[in-house]
């Protein structure tokens, strides 16, 4: 192995080996006799293995064995023995001539000695030198909801978690750590039980299995090198302990879900009037009743003829009042001296919100984390976890169903008499039909298997030296079987008397089946040499490690139509003509090889320092550009430990700072090659379709990582024992940002990107973005008699600012992205509505402008509205401010938890698909400018918003919504049933809770976390729960 190590690593490894061997042969003090003893925990009396025991001021030491026993040779009879172990208060005992010591360690419950999981290790909170937020797993169990990523909002300082949609199985939040810094992939690295990029992700983990979550927000993440620039989330699952007997936990939760927010659409009479207005704008000579007479509009209003003049509320028709979800979890944890175990099994189940839908999501997950002590020094971990997600959906996507529900005219009936569905707005897409099994079903089961074998070997011949390693092998199997079947809708036939309803078959002409499979593989091997030593008053920790991994994805898909019957969805039964069958498939492979290490020193628990380095290789880049170096350093100073510091009210005061270089390699691979792609049946020769090959990418041989330089300066303090405060200033400069030069490469060069397809212009390392801001966290705990109180809050302000992003030279200053946040839009600024013909001459207007149109600001004052009048917005849909407040209270057997969460300084552009192509949000319909409502606050209606002069034709800030909000994210009230010994229950708790209970926002028509410009998405969920937790 050594011969492949890069030079720098070799030096570090050699240096370490030399140091350790020297330590091993260092001369010992004159011995004063053998000391033996046992270390136990004060609370439970159980032996504690692994306690570090040494004589103060010397390097002589050992660790306690499996039974808590130790043997030591004392240098002299008055030596002081120091016992230290993570999670316990350090104890110093003067020997005073004793030769046996029975020691009990007091567990350290104060936050200072809390153990925080960091990259490739763990440390005490008080020794941290960087900005890491750690959250206990039980926090995530509160107020159950189906997706772990949605539990981050408000709970974890510095993390932005926006939920874009609520469809079961597709409800992942967009997680950003301290904002976004790149136009590329901004998602943080997810590390689960020490394995980076674990397949299956964090979203669908069972929160009951989680011990803790740590978020690395600053240069501390540099230990993950080229993947760390977006921050790192470390998730640690629960393990068994030798001290406790088997502990059985069971939980059951039943929830009711309903949308947080849905628009109210215009009613039939209003919409009929709108259609009249659109026709009037098209052809004014015909007047205002060209489509519907006033009599007809009245019929829509009074409901006297529901067949011909209905008033349909499509959203109500498609949606149930609520949908159901439930979760169960059973876990057993325990163990003895030789082995410890944590096993759990969980299930969660959700149904869809549509009426009569086949949408169903059911997940089963199992986990078995086992530790075996093969010998006193050799420990083996065997972790197996698996999960199966059974996902069944309608064949039309949620986007398509909500699109139909929002667009379909209120002037069309949902059903004709006899429960006969009407045709809907187009192609028979009646949303009450396409959201059910009547249009077929789309099964997307997924199986995730994570395995991890880890070992920890303390070399007995060198105290403090250990070898660690793991091998993780993950696989994901995803398959899809989408069977679309024709469905029937009915059209009104007015030519018969009485009227009849003619059935029409819509959807595919014959049933069609898409079947596919995707398998993913991740294999990671890791090996490290670790050393821990106390030299006098200095605690030293170091490791060097090697890691490599392979990631693979294989995918294929096949399609058949021409099925004779919708009964059996099997490929064999599909049509046999060539035009009835297609097949496709592909695969990719990606490898990484990394060398890294860390040295940290703690002098008198007062002066803390840490240096990390990582040397990363990636197959994404061309030979010669494959490796990058990512160092970081951090320091801490616990002022409160200084002898001169005598402020009684301040129990802890620490200053810390970190600085380092991190990378982002989440980019398309092989951008250093010229590639072509296949375009199937793109052109026809002699009546036969032929595939063609077109350029898909121009090579950039120089492509390499994005690099981030992160600085964080923080202060931590505890005041009057109860009030904890943490403040951080941070900044990040992301350079070598991978962006394509689309702005400055002219199309005349022929290097032109296709709309909505992968770009031929490769990324180049040219962009630069700055992020800076501050974070504050505060918490307060107090117990007064039977009442215990805790309150906490976190607040993050972060501003991203583009430094360079290839703005073309020719654009005016107010359009440059430089100086603005990433993702901010270029829009016309509006300043009201042309009320009448007079206004049209008073302001610069556009060809085709008429009263009722939006007035655009002539920003460059040239008297006409041109593209130069567009302005770069100063906000984007990534909030600059996020915050959360928690309040917990316990009184007797009752406990209460409230989480408020919110964001500010964010905007979202939403322009619905309305006009003749679809219905309007009522907020627009009711307030629209019209000849009869010249004071309307919204512009006039038009044929379609996508090509309206007030809409997408001149994208403008009228449609930019302020998406600041504050939410009662969680509220939970529990009652602890007094211990019931007779039924061997050691604990029982029942609770009621709510998720997204209330939202305060200016946005009325959609959830402010939505990120769809059309607002056509499965809405976020509000969930009411009842549940019980039992402990045996």
């Amino acid at each position: 192995m050594m011969k492949h190590l890069p030079k720098i690593t070799k030096i570090v490894v050699m240096a370490l080996l030399v140091t350790t061997s020297q330590l091993n042969v260092a001369p010992l003090f004159a011995q004063a006799g053998e000391i033996t003893g046992t270390v136990r925990s004060l609370d439970e009396g159980t032996p504690i293995p692994g306690v570090s025991i040494f004589f103060k001021g010397t390097t002589i030491g050992t660790t306690s064995d499996q039974d808590g026993k130790f043997v030591l040779n004392a240098p002299n009879k008055d030596a002081i023995v120091v016992f230290s172990f993570i999670g316990y208060k350090t104890l110093e005992i003067p020997l005073n001539g004793q030769s046996t010591l029975e020691v009990s360690l007091e567990s350290d419950i104060s936050t200072l000695s809390e153990i925080v999981v960091v990259g490739y290790g763990e440390t005490k909170k008080q020794s941290l030198t960087s900005a890491i937020t750690s959250v206990k797993g039980e926090q995530f169990v509160k107020s159950p909801q189906p997706n772990l990523s949605n539990s981050f909002a408000g709970r974890v300082s510095g993390v932005i978690a926006n939920s874009a949609a609520g469809e079961p199985g597709f409800d992942n939040a967009r997680i950003l750590i301290r904002g976004q810094s790149t136009t590329g992939n901004n998602s943080p690295l997810i590390v689960i039980d020490g394995v980076a990029n674990r397949l299956g992700g964090l979203e669908r983990l069972d929160p009951n299995d989680i011990e803790s979550v740590s978020v690395l927000k600053d240069a501390s993440a540099a230990i993950y090198g080229a993947q760390a620039a977006n921050g790192v989330i470390l998730i640690t699952t629960k393990r068994g302990t030798s001290s406790a007997g088997p502990v059985v936990n069971f939980s059951y939760n039943q929830g009711l879900a309903r949308p947080t927010r849905l628009p109210e659409m215009a009613d039939a009479a209003t919409y009929a009037t709108i259609l009249n207005e659109i026709q009037y704008y098209r052809s004014s000579a015909g007047g205002l009743n060209q489509i519907y007479s006033d009599d007809e509009i009245e019929k829509f209003r009074n409901g006297s003829d529901p067949v011909n003049y209905p008033n349909s509320n499509w959203i109500d028709a498609v949606m149930k009042p609520y949908s159901l979800l439930d979760q169960q979890n059973l876990s057993i944890a325990g163990g003895g001296n030789d082995a410890q175990y944590f096993v759990s099994v969980g299930r969660r189940h959700q149904t869809g919100i549509y009426e009569n839908t086949n949408l169903n999501f059911e997940q089963w997950n199992v986990r078995s984390n086992i530790d075996v002590n093969i010998s006193k020094n050799f420990k083996l971990g065997i972790d197996l976890s698996g999960r199966n997600e059974d996902r069944v959906y309608p064949t039309e996507s949620a986007g398509s169903i909500f699109r139909s529900a929002f667009r379909t005219y209120p002037t069309l009936p949902v059903y004709y008499p006899g429960n006969l569905p009407s045709p809907g707005i187009e192609a028979g897409l009646n949303p009450v039909v396409i959201s059910t099994a009547a249009a077929g079903s789309d099964k997307q089961p997924r199986t995730v298997i994570n395995t991890l074998l880890s070992l920890d070997y303390k070399l007995p011949f060198v105290a403090g030296l250990s070898l660690k390693g793991f091998y993780a092998y993950d696989r994901v199997f995803e398959s899809r079987k989408r069977f679309r079947t024709p469905w029937t809708v009915y059209t009104l036939n007015n030519s018969t008397s009485p009227v009849t309803f003619d059935p029409t078959v819509r959807g595919p002409l014959t049933p069609e089946l898409t079947q596919g499979q995707r398998t993913d593989l991740l294999a990671t091997g890791n090996f490290s040499i670790n050393y821990e030593k106390t030299l006098g008053e200095t605690e030293l920790k170091a490791f060097v490690a090697y890691e490599q991994n392979v990631q693979e994805a294989n995918w294929f898909e096949t399609f058949r139509r021409g099925f004779l019957s919708p009964a059996i969805p099997e490929i064999d039964l599909g049509g046999s003509a060539p035009e009835e069958r297609t097949n496709s498939g592909n695969s990719e492979r990606f490898t990484r090889r990394n060398y890294f290490g860390r040295v940290s020193a703690d002098l008198k628990s007062k002066y803390l320092a840490e240096i990390q380095f990582r040397y990363d290789g990636s197959s994404k880049f061309m030979k010669g550009n494959q490796y990058g170096f990512f160092p970081s350093a951090s320091v801490g100073w616990r002022i409160s430990e200084e002898s001169w510091f005598r402020v009684g009210a301040i129990n802890n005061l620490k200053l810390r700072a970190s600085y380092g270089l991190l990378g982002n390699d989440r980019i398309r691979p092989f951008q250093y090659l010229n590639t072509f792609n296949l375009r199937t049946a793109n052109y026809v020769w002699n009546g036969t379709p032929i595939p063609t090959f077109g350029i898909s990418q121009l090579a950039n041989p120089d492509i390499t990582w994005e690099t981030a330089v992160k600085l964080d300066v923080g202060i931590e303090t505890i005041i009057l024992k109860n009030l904890t405060l943490e403040l951080d200033y941070f900044s990040e400069r992301r350079t070598d940002l991978l962006i394509p030069r689309t702005g400055s490469i002219p199309m005349v060069s022929g290097i032109v990107n296709e709309y909505n397809a992968s770009a031929i212009i490769p990324d180049e390392n040219i962009g630069e973005v700055k992020n800076s801001g501050f974070e504050a966290q505060v918490s307060y705990d107090r117990t007064i008699g039977k009442l215990s109180l805790n309150a906490g809050g976190n607040f993050t302000y972060n501003k991203s600012e583009v430094i360079f992003i290839d703005d073309p030279d020719g654009i005016p200053a107010h359009q440059r992205r430089e100086g603005k946040p990433l993702g901010s839009q270029l829009l016309y600024e509006t300043q009201g509505i042309f009320r009448d013909a007079e206004d049209l001459t008073a302001y610069p207007s556009l060809a085709g402008n008429r009263p009722g149109d939006l007035i655009f600001k002539d920003v460059d004052n040239d008297g006409v509205i041109t593209a130069n009048d567009r302005v770069r917005e100063s906000l984007s849909n990534v909030p600059q401010i996020v915050y959360g407040f928690t309040l917990g209270a316990g009184f007797g057997n009752f406990d209460l938890m409230v989480l408020l969460q919110g964001q500010a300084r964010s905007v979202q552009y939403v322009l619905t698909e309305a006009g003749e192509v679809g219905n309007y949000f009522n907020s627009w319909a009711e307030n629209r400018w019209s000849p009869s409502n010249p004071n309307g606050s919204y512009p006039r209606v038009d044929v379609r918003t996508s090509s309206s002069i007030n809409g997408a034709l001149y994208r403008n800030d009228f449609w930019l919504y302020n998406t600041s909000f504050m939410r009662i994210k969680n509220i939970e009230l529990g009652y602890n049933i007094p211990s019931a010994e007779r039924i061997r229950l050691s604990g029982a708790r029942v609770y009621v809770s709510a998720f997204n209970l209330a939202t305060f926002s200016k946005v009325r028509d959609f959830d402010p976390e939505g990120q769809s410009e059309s607002a056509q998405f499965y809405p976020q969920q509000q969930i009411f729960n009842v549940g019980v937790n039992l402990k045996f």
């Binding site: 098209r282 005219y409 492979r589 197959s619 296949l678 375009r679 052109y683 002219p746 060069s749």
Partner: protein, 564 residues
């Protein structure tokens, strides 16, 4: 101690496997240019790709919908719908052109031809530079080189008719790191025309005369290059291209180029599809191939264009009433007796307007009372099935007419798997005859050869010959109208009214439709209506605007078209 050593070895061996030195050496799973050009079959498939072009806005064909070819061809909204031929019922960025809102930052799907053409030109240049490495015979290589140059010339013609003179790249294969400012200079119209024509001259005779077993139908041929040359020279002689100078020599060159194709005696007007000239004309556009075709793009049910049948059928049939013909076009169909409807002697009856019209009218346009798919079209009010009172009223025609040309009536409107299979003709013989007639008339005034050419087209359509003794001006008007009728919806009208410099008149007419009321006794009353308010043409709209992004990218060095 021994045990410990064993543990150590086990630990090390478990964890240090897989340290092979080429671990980061991963083979790409996409095709690289190396692979393409070394393989003759792949190289020809890359050249075939040049016949199509990428999508640059939402309203263009994507890969799944068969990429756009030259011009626009079949699409949801057709080119006809940004002229005085049609109103597109779903807008799709057509109204902005028809309402005079076309601008450098708002050009819908018009100015996208800039980026699309240059991308193919670069790919063509790359193919030219790489085809030298492909292991094929020299004869084959010469043909492929000629084919690439034909496609490149056609792309320049797309640029020319859209923007006028444009930057010429020669054989440059630009790279990311190039200095692009060398390409910012717009050549004059004349230089651009000369380049296209010289390229075409170089491939005429090298390309095969006919498709065959090794040169499949759909690829460039010598007659295709000659037809393109004919159209380029016709445009180049027109007032917009000559700044109004009436240059007889240029017209003569255009006439000669058309005459060269006539002299091939290879093509003729299709007459044998039906004894009924109207039906014959209708069937021409749903048949492939015919003896009239010079260069075209075929579609099949596995490689279709768009669901054109569904898109354009009347709402009463379940269609979406797409590219609906304007009254302005309907009015320009002569009576069957050869007289315009405006002529009092024509016999035109405004209360029975569809009787005895040019047979091509019935094959191009669906009107109230037309027999179609088993019943008569009903656009009348009240309660006409294809009127605003019919099924899915939002899909009804804003003009009162529907399109019939190109659409296959044999397939069900629900049969999505067979829609959009009609052939799009880039060049057909009738155009060449009209090109000849127009150019020759401008060069010399009416002579017998001009009458012969125009009358051949009229005779095939079932129309009487032109009256003898027309003046040059009268002949011009008849030829212009003949192009409007014969080539309706075939992407000529937009460019014709511009190159003739009559767009300010023609495109500033009210976009009209018809409103038909049926009385209780069945009597129909016809009334004109405005089908699309705000129709407008401004002087800058003779040319497309160059996209603002392009001006910005060149820091203003690329010169915008006048008045934008």
């Amino acid at each position: 101690m021994k045990k410990h050593i064993i543990y150590t070895l086990v630990a090390l061996s478990l964890l240090s496997n897989g340290c092979d030195s080429d671990f980061l050496d991963v083979k790409p799973t996409t095709l690289t240019d190396e692979a393409i050009w070394k393989d003759p079959a792949l190289a020809e498939a890359a050249i075939a790709n040049l016949y199509t072009g990428i999508r640059l806005t939402e309203k263009e064909a994507s890969q799944g919908e068969r990429y756009i070819g030259f011009g626009r061809g079949f699409h949801w909204a057709m080119f006809a719908s940004i002229t005085d031929e049609a109103v597109y019922s779903n807008d799709d960025q057509t109204y902005l052109v028809q309402r005079g809102q076309l601008s450098p930052s708002n050009f819908g799907w018009t100015s996208t031809v800039w980026g699309r053409s240059y991308r193919v030109i670069r790919e063509a240049n790359l193919a030219l530079s790489k085809i030298t490495e492909t292991p094929i015979t020299e004869e084959r290589r010469a043909m492929l080189q000629a084919e690439i140059r034909f496609v490149r010339a056609y792309r320049y013609f797309d640029l020319l008719k859209g923007f006028g003179g444009v930057p010429l790249l020669g054989d440059a294969v630009t790279q990311l790191t190039d200095d692009f400012s060398q390409f910012y200079e717009r050549k004059t119209i004349e230089e651009t025309v000369d380049y296209i024509v010289s390229e075409l001259d170089a491939v005429i005779g090298v390309l095969p005369d006919d498709p065959g077993s090794t040169w499949k139908r759909g690829r460039a041929t010598t007659p295709a290059a000659m037809a393109l040359k004919s159209r380029v020279l016709l445009y180049a002689a027109s007032p917009l291209y000559t700044d109004g100078a009436d240059d007889a020599a240029k017209w003569q060159k255009a006439a000669d180029a058309a005459q060269d194709i006539i002299d091939l005696n290879k093509f003729s007007l299709v007459k044998n599809l039906s004894a009924d000239p109207s039906e014959n004309y209708r069937l021409l556009f749903v048949s492939t191939p015919t003896q009239e075709d010079i260069f075209f793009r075929e579609y099949t049910n596995t490689s279709p264009s768009m669901a054109m049948e569904r898109m354009n059928a009347p709402n009463g049939y379940g269609g979406w009433g797409g590219n609906t013909p304007m009254q302005n076009l309907v009015d320009d169909y002569e009576m069957e007796n050869g007289l315009p409807v405006s002529d009092p002697a024509s016999g035109y009856d405004p209360q029975n307007p569809y009787m005895d019209r040019d047979p091509r009218f019935y094959a191009t346009i669906l009107f109230n009372g037309a027999a179609y798919r088993g019943r008569q079209v009903e656009t009348f009010l009240p309660s006409g099935k294809d009127s605003p009172d019919g099924n899915e009223p939002w899909n009804t025609s804003p003009t009162g007419y529907y399109l019939r040309k190109f659409l296959k009536e044999s397939i069900s409107l629900d049969d999505w798997n067979n829609m959009g299979t009609a052939t799009w003709r880039y060049f057909r013989y009738a155009e060449i005859l009209l090109n000849y007639a127009e150019a020759q008339n401008e060069a010399t005034g009416p002579d017998q050869s001009i009458y012969d050419a125009v009358n051949a087209v009229r005779e095939r359509a079932g129309m009487p010959a032109l009256p003898a003794g027309l003046s040059k001006e009268q002949m011009r008007q008849r030829i212009w109208n003949e192009r409007r009728i014969e080539l309706a919806y075939e992407e000529h009208r937009y460019f014709d009214v511009r190159r003739w410099m009559v767009a300010e008149i023609e495109e500033n007419q009210i976009a009209q439709g018809i409103s038909i009321t049926r009385a209780g006794n069945g009597t129909l009353t016809y009334q004109l209506k405005e089908a699309l308010g705000g129709k407008k043409f401004l002087p800058q709209h003779y040319w497309f605007p160059i996209p603002q992004d392009e001006i910005n990218a060149s820091n203003g060095a690329i010169e915008q078209n006048p008045f934008y």
